[in-house]
């Protein structure tokens, strides 16, 4: 999944503009990423101007 560092995030919305599945919602002071719809395409990670987003090892559909 995509991890959000809320200390770095400036809530600028750039990530949402490149999200192909509209999974990122921008609130007044924070953002959310819907893990159900996120396809882990990494667009948001690559474009974030302050590197607030990272792709973590843990994924949603891994069999234990």
């Amino acid at each position: 999944m995509i991890d959000i560092n809320y200390n770095l995030c400036d809530v600028c919305g750039t990530c949402a503009s490149v999200c192909p599945v509209n999974a990122i919602e921008i609130f007044e002071k924070y953002i959310t990423i819907n893990n159900e719809t996120c396809t882990l395409c990494r667009n948001c990670v690559e474009i974030c101007p302050v590197e607030a987003l990272t792709l973590t090892e843990e994924t949603t559909n891994v069999e234990r």
Binding site: G13, T14, C15, A16, S17, V18, E25, E28, P49
Partner: protein, 392 residues
């Protein structure tokens, strides 16, 4: 207060949304602007430059929201060679955007539009004859019905996709920016400064726009597909440390910009999309206020007509899309081709360009001349130039 039903709901209280409200509003219509933030005019994610032409034609000019008058441009090459030039057409302004948007909101309210702050349109529950919107307002979730919606919700553009209008930017056509409002720096008062250097701003540029004595908006945009070894913020910090080491930071902001050819589709049943949400941004400069005002005005007028004629179908609203294609789209596509060609220039190309123009009088240099000759000097780019000039 928020009502249960409106004729027109405008999502987003920026220049596009507020101008739409101004042109859509009249006494017997219920028009509301829903702004997520707690205040109109903040946060400012913008370098605040706009042409005099655009303000006059689609909005109005008032001294209370003008920070600086602009009539000069400095182009600075990677080797620090400076070329001074007069602007292509009219002079421009650096706005006080907070003050400007508050003034726009007041004007729209005087014409009977309702401005709602802290009203976050989360999504659409139902799109039938009248869309039902899910709105977080003052700590509660409400359902608000509207006959027509104008999506002017900015770069993130979450609402238009719910009506089937695809707004997602490809990575190639999106740029991330970072800006600082700096003080205690030396900057000529009426001058826009641009630095082109692939070392610091690959696929983009650095700007410094004066905001009054010793103060400026200094920012950096870079292509998202360029060198990712350093993020946008770090690149700007590196530049400021080099260029303005004694300055202090008054505020910082990040922001995204579309550098695309715009959208193919701007309307759906009961929905129009305007401004940054519609990717109506000059892809060469990243400037979006002028087209936001154009689209707000156009969308507002057509939305009003749709309500008065009781026809909010896609077919009726296509007037808006046709106006865009007729009046603006060609310019945007031409600027896109120019931008694509400029992106191929190396630091050495920029240096040669500056050397060629440095002794010319500023009156004889224009941005178009500069960029056009930049491309002519690059044999590999001749086909791009031909395409640019012939509009193919």
């Amino acid at each position: 207060m928020l009502k249960d039903k409106y004729d027109i709901v405008i999502v987003g209280g920026g220049p596009a949304g507020l101008n739409a409200a101004f042109y859509a509003a009249q006494d017997n219509l219920d028009v509301a602007v829903m702004e997520r933030s707690r205040e109109i005019g903040i946060p400012i994610r913008c370098a605040e430059a706009v042409s005099k032409n655009a303000l006059e034609e689609y909005s109005f000019i008032d001294d209370n929201f003008i920070s600086t008058l602009i009539n000069n441009v400095h182009f600075i090459a990677p080797n620090n060679e400076l070329v001074e030039m007069k602007m292509d057409a009219q002079v421009g302004y650096i706005l006080d955007r907070r003050e400007y948007e508050q003034t726009l909101a007041k004007k729209a309210a005087e014409k009977s539009a309702t401005i709602c702050t802290r009203a976050h349109v989360r999504g659409v529950q139902q799109i039938s004859s009248a869309p039902k919107l899910i709105v977080d307002y003052a700590g509660q979730q409400k359902i608000v019905e509207t006959k027509l919606l104008i999506a002017a919700d900015g770069i993130e553009s979450n609402i238009a996709p719910e009506f089937g209008i695809k707004t997602t930017l490809s990575m190639k056509n999106a740029e991330a920016c970072y800006q600082m409002k700096l003080t205690n720096l030396e900057i000529p008062e009426n001058t826009l400064k641009f630095w082109f250097t692939n070392d610091i701003a690959p696929g983009g540029y650095i700007w410094a726009f004066p905001k009054g004595p010793h103060t400026a908006n200094v920012g950096l945009g870079k292509g998202s597909k360029s060198d990712n070894s350093e993020n946008t913020k770090q690149r700007l910090e590196r530049f400021v440390k080099r260029q303005y080491p004694k300055s202090s930071i008054l505020n910082t902001s990040a922001g995204g910009v579309s550098v695309s050819r715009g959208l193919d589709e701007l309307v759906a049943d009961h929905c129009l999309v305007a401004g940054d949400a519609a990717r109506m941004i000059n892809p060469l400069t990243g400037g979006g206020i002028a087209t936001a005002l154009w689209s707000g005005k156009k969308a507002g007028l057509i939305a009003k007509q749709a309500i008065l004629d009781n026809n909010t179908s896609e077919k009726f609203l296509e007037k808006y899309e046709k106006a865009w294609k007729k009046e603006k789209e060609k310019d945007l596509k031409r600027l896109f081709r120019l931008k694509e060609a400029l992106n191929k220039l190396t630091d050495e190309d920029f240096n040669q360009l500056a050397a060629k123009y440095k002794d010319k009088s500023p009156e004889d240099v224009t941005l178009t001349k500069l960029f056009t000759s930049a491309l002519k000097n690059k044999p590999g780019l001749i086909s791009d130039v031909v395409k640019l000039l012939t509009g193919v």
